[in-house]
Amino acid sequence: MSYIVPIGPYHPALEEPIHAKLYTEGEVIRDAEVFVGYNHRGIEKLATERNAIQTLVLVERVCGICSHSHALTYALAVEAINQLEVPRRGEYIRVITAELERLHSHFLWAGIALHIIGHDSMFMHTWDAREDIMDMLEELSGNRVNYAMVTIGGARRDISDEMRRSFEQRLDKLQKALDRVVELCVNDKTVALRTKGVGVMTTEEALRMGAVGPHARASGVDVDVRRDSPYSAYGDFEFKVPVLDSCDVYARVVVRLLECYESISIIKQALENLPSGPINLGNKLPKIKEGEHTSRHEAPRGQLIYKVVGDGGFNNQRVSIHVPSYKNTPTVPVMLRNNTVADAGLIIASIDPCFSCLDR
């Protein structure tokens, strides 16, 4: 018998509002639709009435998890329009913050995924390890959510030698915790049964729909803006881009965990080779020159794109924000087809969706 199973927009299993309709036959999902827009706040419109510093504060509030990514990508666009050269130390600090953000985002997601499949003890271990990352971010920026580490022309706060040494030790400890999560996810039968062969998106489908980030890399698409179009200080570091081709939820778990090793490596390289000198170009409020630029950053969920248009005044003429979930959310119906209703929550979560980001 056929049923339409509605989920959301307000539902205990959802962290953010989204509405999905599952067209089912018995337990099997034959087709699905997703509806977004429940968090549309008109942030792009608000940005047209703000100057560059005010916009940094605004765009950090697009997302509670990847707030630094938004501020960084906006700053990259304004700096390109104004042809500003950011001091190297400032760029390194930006990269350290971005990679700490990626670590906390992936640990958060891994914890949620383990919780959804019913492995609550490992969910708690994962989030316990994540607390160390949050502590590092708090020590670095003074904040746990909106870090405010970026200013136009550099970073806002410096890293002391003592902090560097402390971070290196804590990253070693984090790597051990990561080893444990990886060992469990790769060898545990429960994790394998709930994730292998579930929510498949083929490489062809990922390319056709333009999927990005770890979601695409788990489907065999080898893309990463940090490597393909280096920006900030990413050109100075050696790192691998993990790509898997099993195209299922399991691959999405493993790709994100492998990326955590690379993030730890990047942070260690940055801490070890941190250049001396200023961290920014000063605090003067910049005018945004006439012109436009599109900047890209590999945020934890994938490619984040900002287009900024300036008209020579203090305010933006246009800020256009396109987030990874914009590309990944339309792939959800494809992944849901021919899976069971019981796996729907896990499959939707497997793209690491952020609907606040998407709706803006």
């Binding site: 977004v36 729909m209 280096p230």
Partner: protein, 132 residues
Amino acid sequence: MQEYREIRISREEIVPTALRMKHDGVFLAMIHGYIQKAGQVRVSYEYAVEPAIEAYYVVGETSLPSISDIYDTSASWPELELHELLGLEFEGLDTSKRLFLPEDMLETEGKGQILVKPLSELRETRENMEKE
């Protein structure tokens, strides 16, 4: 600094450009739109020709051919957004369902077009709706 190139094209070149890019395996980064100071709308099709972004833009066209049959949802979602927020028309695009705005948004039957109207006017409309 990431490289960014702007190339002006005509309305008729939008589809051939998209076909050429798709054939070359180029990723459609995004479709952006805004109103220029002179009052003309500018729509920019941005392709990731690594390591650069190539922005193919048209100016002054409010009705454009859809490239959603070439780039699937990575084109249809931004086209729908521009339809809702800027009031642009895309020939061949299914606009029967809204993307971001509620069906009863403001007075325009689902098309708030909030990127066209001044914020003061939008606030006034909102206040009037709340009074009613």
